[in-house]
């Protein structure tokens, strides 16, 4: 295999990286971020760099093209099509950026300029690099938009980024990066911000384009499922070091390094966990949360008509039960969660927590009900007040409920930090000094401060790495086992509910499609929509993923998409 690889590289290696090092200057010391990296990517080949956040994979991607921050230095050799690029003047690099080497970024909303149409942004790239007239560039741009399968390319040319869905924005980004037929495409977490179903579509698109254009692709991701779907070879990184490099088949089926094994183990696999059963007496007990015929509308604003985000749904949660609420973005699942805690007005129907009606409750009653509920928000960076030390954030519900003050409050905050396994010393830290996983733990500690009967978890893991996510879910499970709270767990990732939930509810376009025990939904889904949602989850195994991909194509044909 190894000889095979070197042979190939001599023929047509697009990117050759030798002894690549990146270091950062922080507080008077050089910290290595990437250490002695060596790899090659040939035309038509996909090399995936996999690792947790902080492992240096994004630093590698940016460093190749000299896009690092001012306090970084890099050494070694980076050759694209035989030309040395490392530490070359910007004028040399600029000729390569965009033309020979193109980037696809993680967040399509921030990477596209919101004040220009996508057509304009693609034309701009074309006319910067080629001697092209406006009409010709326009034709080429429309051709590119068609190539990435955005419907109705002519009309889409004049659309602004906010008028496109998340998946379409990512397609527009891809069209822009493909504008100059790059020899090397660097995709930095291209699907992390997307739903499973949209992710599956984008992966399909990228696979098709790679074969069509014969570009070399450097794929950077933390998601082993995505890697299994797309890559030929895989390089595993940890703390800036290359842990293992091998063909996709070898990595998934015969991982050598323990770290690779643990990374593979932390990916949630469908149906791998044994069923969590609920005690019989809990089933008979009164519901903690009871939602009946709930309708929520966002009122009309000016000429925009009222939007019905949640349409006539009913479900209930028993004490100690975890209900997983699954759906694509825009299906109204977050709306249900926020309404359940009284953050959104109810249009009609009822939400009862421990028998108390939430819709139309007076602020004082609401305050009383909220003492029995907690919520963990999706984005840990935004849900913690950046100017408040985390100890105070955690202690606030206790303080406001009048449960504890002064010394007693300090002690309770310490207990809470212990229970989410954060060092006590962290309580004087500000949120930005914590990693994403730690911040989300703070979020849980705050939600559990008043030992609530009901916890609403709104996509708490979507911003986390797989290995961090695995640990986080474990922690949540332990806490739930000891504290016995009921939980509404909202997520788009079926793999996650699979681990936690007793029952699963599936939402689509504001309606409840299917609800039932975990096993029934995962193994024997009745509705086509549930089936397609399940089929879109990538599995960290190339062979099986191929089978699933084909099965999904059949299913989609059946639905008629």
């Amino acid at each position: 295999m190894a000889t095979n690889l070197t042979k190939k590289s001599n023929q047509d290696a697009i990117l050759e990286v030798k002894d690549f090092n990146v270091e950062f200057w922080v507080d008077g010391v050089w910290y290595p971020a990437v250490i002695d990296m060596n790899f090659e990517v040939a035309a038509g080949e996909v090399l995936a760099i996999v690792g947790e956040s902080g492992s240096g994979k994004s630093t590698t991607a940016m460093g190749l093209m000299g896009l690092l921050a001012g306090n970084a230095r890099s050494s070694g050799s980076v050759k694209v099509k035989g030309t040395e690029l490392l530490n070359q003047p910007v004028s040399t690099l600029r000729k390569f950026r965009g033309k020979e080497v193109a980037y696809i970024f993680q967040e399509p909303m921030t990477a596209l300029n919101p004040v220009y149409t996508i057509g304009f942004q693609i034309v701009e790239v074309l006319r910067t690099h080629f001697d092209m007239g406006p009409d010709m560039a326009r034709d080429r741009a429309i051709e590119l938009i068609g190539m990435v399968e955005i419907p109705n390319p002519e009309a889409s040319f004049d659309k602004y980024p906010h008028q496109l869905s998340g998946g379409q924005r990512q397609r527009a980004m891809i069209a822009q990066s493909l504008a100059c037929d790059p020899a090397l495409l660097i995709a930095d977490e291209p699907t992390t911000a997307l739903d499973v179903t949209v992710q599956a579509e984008i992966l399909d698109l990228m696979r098709g384009l790679k074969d069509k254009l014969n570009s070399a692709v450097l794929l950077i991701t933390h998601d082993m499922g995505v890697v299994a779907d797309l890559s030929d070879r895989i390089l595993v990184m940890k703390d800036g070091l290359t842990v293992e490099e091998n063909s996709a088949d070898n990595i998934f089926n015969r991982p050598q390094h323990p770290y690779t094994k643990s990374l593979l183990a932390s990916v949630p696999k469908l149906g791998s966990v044994k069923v969590r059963t609920l005690a019989a007496e809990a089933k008979k007990a009164d519901s903690v949360l009871e939602v009946t015929n709930l309708v929520i509308e966002y009122p009309k604003r000016g000429r925009v008509p009222a939007f019905r985000a949640v349409d006539d749904i009913s479900f209930d949660i028993k004490p100690g039960e975890i209900l997983g609420l699954v759906g694509e973005s825009g299906s109204g699942k977050t709306t249900v969660g926020r309404a359940s805690i009284g953050l959104l007005p109810v249009h009609s129907g009822s939400i009862k927590i421990l028998g108390n009606e939430i819709g139309g409750a007076k602020p004082r009653d609401l305050k009383e009900i909220r003492k029995h509920t907690g919520i963990v928000f999706q984005d840990p960076a935004s849900s913690l007040n950046p100017r408040l030390p985390i100890g105070e954030s955690i202690g606030e519900p206790l303080f406001l409920a009048g449960e504890a003050k002064g010394e007693e409050l300090h002690r309770r905050v310490e207990d809470l930090l212990d229970s989410v396994e954060l060092p006590r010393s962290y309580r004087n830290r500000y949120p930005h000094e914590l990693s994403g996983g730690q911040k989300q733990r703070v979020g849980i500690a705050r939600a559990l401060a008043l030992s609530p009967d009901l916890l609403i978890a709104d996509e708490p893991t979507s911003a986390l790495d797989v290995s961090v996510q695995a640990r986080f879910l474990e922690l949540l499970q332990e806490l739930q086992d000891s504290l016995k709270f009921a939980c509404l767990f909202i997520t788009h990732d079926i793999g996650v509910v699979d681990i936690l939930a007793h029952r699963i509810a599936v939402m689509q376009n504001g309606k409840l499609v299917e609800i039932g025990p975990r096993d029934q939904i995962l193994n024997n889904p009745q509705e086509l929509y549930t089936q397609s949602l399940l089929a879109a989850v990538p599995v960290p195994n190339p062979a099986e993923q191929k089978k699933r991909r084909e099965a999904r194509a059949k299913l989609l044909a059946k639905i008629g998409k």
């Binding site: 270091e23 950062f24 200057w25 922080v26 507080d27 008077g28 010391v29 050089w30 910290y31 971020a33 902080g54 994004s58 630093t59 991607a61 940016m62 690092l68 921050a69 001012g70 306090n71 970084a72 050494s75 967040e107 921030t110 930095d188 703390d239 926020r338 953050l343 909220r370 003492k371 509920t373 907690g374 919520i375 928000f377 935004s382 849900s383 913690l384 007040n385 950046p386 100017r387 408040l388 030390p389 954030s393 606030e396 519900p397 406001l400 409050l409 300090h410 905050v413 310490e414 060092p423 010393s425 962290y426 309580r427 004087n428 830290r429 500000y430 930005h432 000094e433 979020g443 705050r446």
Partner: protein
């Protein structure tokens, strides 16, 4: 964006060593305590604050306190032997000497008496205008931005209305109707008209901050609207407020001078730093000390206010902590660049 991430990567590797230090400090601190601590670490700000305190005490004790109108004055005499009305017997051009450290003005009044009196008036005007304008602006902006809807509409139209009225004109009209009420009344009055810009800025900040999830989190925790506004959102908007108030303070000296020039506010023989400069700007070549003393004092006041403002802003913003010193970095980079 990516570069920020990269920095964090490197930063995380430093935390191992830091933990040893961080773990020792386990005593829980409130937001206020942490901010006070961080302010105290900001050396220029502390120096500015100390200077302001001593300077104010020095000037006020030197000239005494003089309030009230011309008809019913309230006076406490200071320790400096001369007042702004004592014409001295000294002869000559009035250069600074031991008896008169800041010299004499053309009427042979002791210039230190004039300057200390001027500084006293100017400081008072500044504090009142800045305090009143800052307070009103923050509250108006906060309430307007936080509640939105019709409250916002009414308050912002009211703000528009205030903006359209020039303060100088109102000052003139009131001065004409009621007569000169003295500096104190003038300062309060100017403060009532100087909050508009700040209110707009604060409102803008609140409009975007109230949509953030931590506001919802606070609400779920049971926080009242008042607590959300002052405890959760306001500290996040403090940068804008401090910058704006600092500008307001510096501007208030000029406004006061302008109005005094028109005959309202500070009237001869009373003085402020602004009127002193205004009066003696032509004396620059003949008796430069007449211009320099009040000028330098205004600069010192403005500088120390800016330092204090800077320190406050940094203390409130937790991200201001570890900044790379550009010079150190480049020095080190040049020293240890491999292969060069």
């Amino acid at each position: 964006m990516a570069s920020k991430k990269d920095k964090n990567v490197a930063k995380e590797s430093t935390t191992v060593g830091e933990n040893a230090i961080a773990n020792r400090e386990t005593e829980g601190l409130s937001q206020g305590q942490i901010i006070r601590r961080r302010f105290m670490q900001h050396k220029p700000a502390v120096a500015g604050l100390i200077f302001m305190i001593f300077f104010t005490l020095f000037m006020y004790s030197a000239s005494g306190i003089h309030l009230g109108t011309e008809k019913n004055p309230i006076n406490w005499q200071g320790w400096w032997p001369y007042t702004i009305r004592d014409i001295t017997a000294a002869s000559g051009a009035g250069d600074p000497s031991w008896a008169h450290p800041m010299g004499l003005d053309p009427l042979h009044l002791d210039y230190f008496a004039l300057v200390s009196r001027g500084a006293e008036i100017s400081l008072m005007v500044m504090v009142i205008i800045g305090g009143l304008g800052g307070l009103l602006g923050t509250i108006m902006g906060a309430v307007s931005g936080f509640f939105g809807g019709w409250i916002d509409a009414i308050m912002m139209r009211f703000t528009d209305f205030i903006i359209t009225i020039p303060a100088i004109l109102i000052g003139a009209v009131i001065g004409f109707r009621v007569g000169n009420l003295g500096v104190f009344a003038l300062a309060i009055f100017l403060g009532l008209f100087s909050w508009t810009g700040l209110a707009r800025l604060v409102r803008g900040e609140f409009l975007s901050l109230r949509e953030r999830e931590f506001v919802d989190a606070a609400r779920v925790a049971g926080a009242s609207n008042r607590r959300i506004i002052f405890k959760h959102i306001l500290p996040n908007a403090i940068g804008v407020i401090i910058v704006s108030v600092t500008l307001l303070l510096a501007g208030s000296i000029l406004t006061e001078t302008g109005l005094s020039y028109l005959g309202f506010g500070v009237q001869a023989p009373d003085v402020s730093l602004g009127t002193l400069i205004n009066q003696y700007q032509d004396a620059f070549t003949v008796a430069p000390w007449l211009f320099w003393w009040p000028g330098v004092i205004i600069i010192l006041i403005a500088l120390s206010i800016n330092f204090v403002g800077d320190g406050l802003r940094d203390a409130f913003d937790p991200r201001q902590r570890r900044r790379i010193k550009r010079k150190d970095f480049q020095l080190e980079a040049a020293k240890s660049r491999p292969g060069k």
